[in-house]
Amino acid sequence: MALLQISEPGQTTAPHQHKLAVGIDLGTTNSLVASVRSGEAQTLADINGDHILPSVVRYAEQGIEVGQAAIEHAVIDPSNTIVSIKRLMGRAATDLKSLRQSSPYEFSISESVVPKIKTRAGDVSAVEVSSEILKSLKTRAIETLGDELVGAVITVPAYFDDAQRQATKDAARLAELNVLRLLNEPTAAAVAYGLDTGQEGVIAIYDLGGGTFDVSILRLKQGVFEVLATGGDSALGGDDFDHAIADWMLQQSGCKKIPTPSLVRLLMREARSAKEQLASVTEVNVKVELDDFAWQGELTRSQMQALIEPLIKKTIMACRRSLRDADVAVEDVLEVVMVGGSTRTLAVREMVGEFFRREPLVSIDPDKVVAIGAALQADVLAGNKPDDEMLLLDVIPLSLGIETMGGLAEKIIYRNTPIPVAKAQDFTTYKDGQTAMAVHVVQGERELVDDCRSLARFDLRGFPPHVAGAARIRVTYQVDADGLLTVSACEENSGVEASVDVKPSYGLTDSEIETMLRDSMDHAEDDMHSRMLREQQVEADRVVEALDAALQVDGDELLSEDEKANIAQARNQLIEAKAGDDSEIIKAAIKQVEDACADYVARRMNSNIRNAMQGHSVEEYAGNEQE
């Protein structure tokens, strides 16, 4: 017969209706899955008793390998073995330069917005690789819990922007996992320690994982976690400790050649093992041999501390910045929670303890603490608790803004605003007769749009033309509890609306998910062309309308028949070009109309000034100014 779990009073479900939910910590280096069974949150082990699934995917000849099996082949098959894929989640191809140096695999050369890695199974995106990790965890959970899952809470670094969160959701959809919620990792850690039932006050979460560093300042108030500030570095972690140690080994060996990918892997593995050993012993003997490379030497704990100290200092600086963002003093911090395997390194614990002037909390396994918190939250969201015991507030990690004239980013929702949230701001047109407005949604703290992350673009079209500045366009930004964004725009005089489901530029539509992302490059290009075309079409409309309006007023008065014929010809050519689908031709036709009208525009200007001043003396204007 079936095996049963103990439910909370009154929460027993009908057979086959178990509300099984899991928490998943989808990490850069390691991933875990946890679930609440008989009231206890536990991470789930695989058939070998291992709880941790290394976040490594290998596209092998006989199929896809995930975890330990993949790691074992990393040294011999580096270009088909993908590690630290989380660093590429939601990243654009243009973001890759800084990441590429340290990546042993080849990126596919394409114009795609989503970077692809070349493997023997074809080009794969970060979303696809992550979904393989999720699939593996899902299978483990179903085998362990004995039934289908209603859903999962997946944790993400507090620093993840919308594109990265969306990519995580897409990966879950590919793995056919229902996402109950995306939860910030630090918030999950606080829940795991049960700090929600503890003393009210400020809590700092120091999370140093394999590839990311997050610090979050939370405040517990009336049983509610409020995230006061988040900070960190999405490209700093224990991997970098390994890099520093591996670099040192290479230096010590005196090897002048550029190391092969296989050697880099081996050095990293040895560096990591040395680092882990130095948590319990004060010195280790390291031996690295591969092909014609051979080195043997000793590494002491204090030597290693000297190597990694600059990296730890960077994390401490981020802690200081976050405290300042949160407007709290070091003395106000009640507890410091340590998360992530890299906090086992003694030097990290010491320096963090020194900075916060208190002993950090380390009693729950720092590798499992986030998954356990996520499982507790998943249990609540799946409806296994009599009442919603935990109401978690999260904040927006990076400001959300809109592009305004001149390529400037105007912030609409500021960073650290608690979510869910909705904010509206009014905009107007800048040209007479304007009937459309392009809305460009960006995320980031920089002033120029080019320096921010582009999340989405859409057009509000077809509102009636007004003189510049008369249209009232209200743009509303809405962020749901998962931190995902919807933007809508409405021209208030006419009621014309464009309510678009904003998908981040690096996210995917439902149909693309089904066709496995492979054609996203084509879509991206089509989208770009159609956007350019539509922009030019809007511009053409504006030009024709402005011209017709002007001709009606004073065309006969200011223009000769020849001139009129000339302008009419240019106008007809523009209308013809606009009906086509080549944005460059439309652009050229617009230029032609503008050239044909240059004299006319100048004459209109002069005549307008004359009309305005008719019957008035210059002194009158001067007098008005003085009043």
Binding site: M1, L4, Q5, I6, E40, E143, T144
Partner: protein, 107 residues
């Protein structure tokens, strides 16, 4: 009239109760639901109702309402492991038939 627990079941129940931090004992019961007529209830207990019977086995209080007891008398609760899955099992002498998965039963 009696309900009993096997040693492994008692141990697990004790540890789950400790972990939960509150609770008097374990409620067993039946509910009319499921594909074969009835399903088992297994829950933590925070309060005892007027029509409850309380048994004690291996230091664990087992609470059963009078209506359910008719179906459960003589049952032994065990804790078992099947592959990766683990959980509680009802060895009920009154159970005549159960659905393929064994989650619901008839008497």
């Amino acid at each position: 009239m009696a309900i009993t627990l096997t040693e492994p079941a008692a141990e697990r129940i004790k540890s789950f109760l400790e972990n939960r931090g509150k609770g008097i004992g374990l409620r067993l019961g039946v509910k009319t639901m499921g594909c074969s007529g009835m399903g088992y209830v297994i829950e933590f207990v925070d309060e005892i109702n007027a029509d409850d019977e309380v048994f004690e086995d291996k230091d664990i209080k087992v609470i059963v309402d009078k209506k359910s007891l008719v179906y459960l008398d003589g049952t032994e609760v065990d804790f078992a492991r099947e592959g990766l899955n683990e959980g509680f099992k009802f060895n009920n002498p009154k159970e005549k038939d159960s659905c393929g998965c064994g989650e619901s039963f008839t008497v």
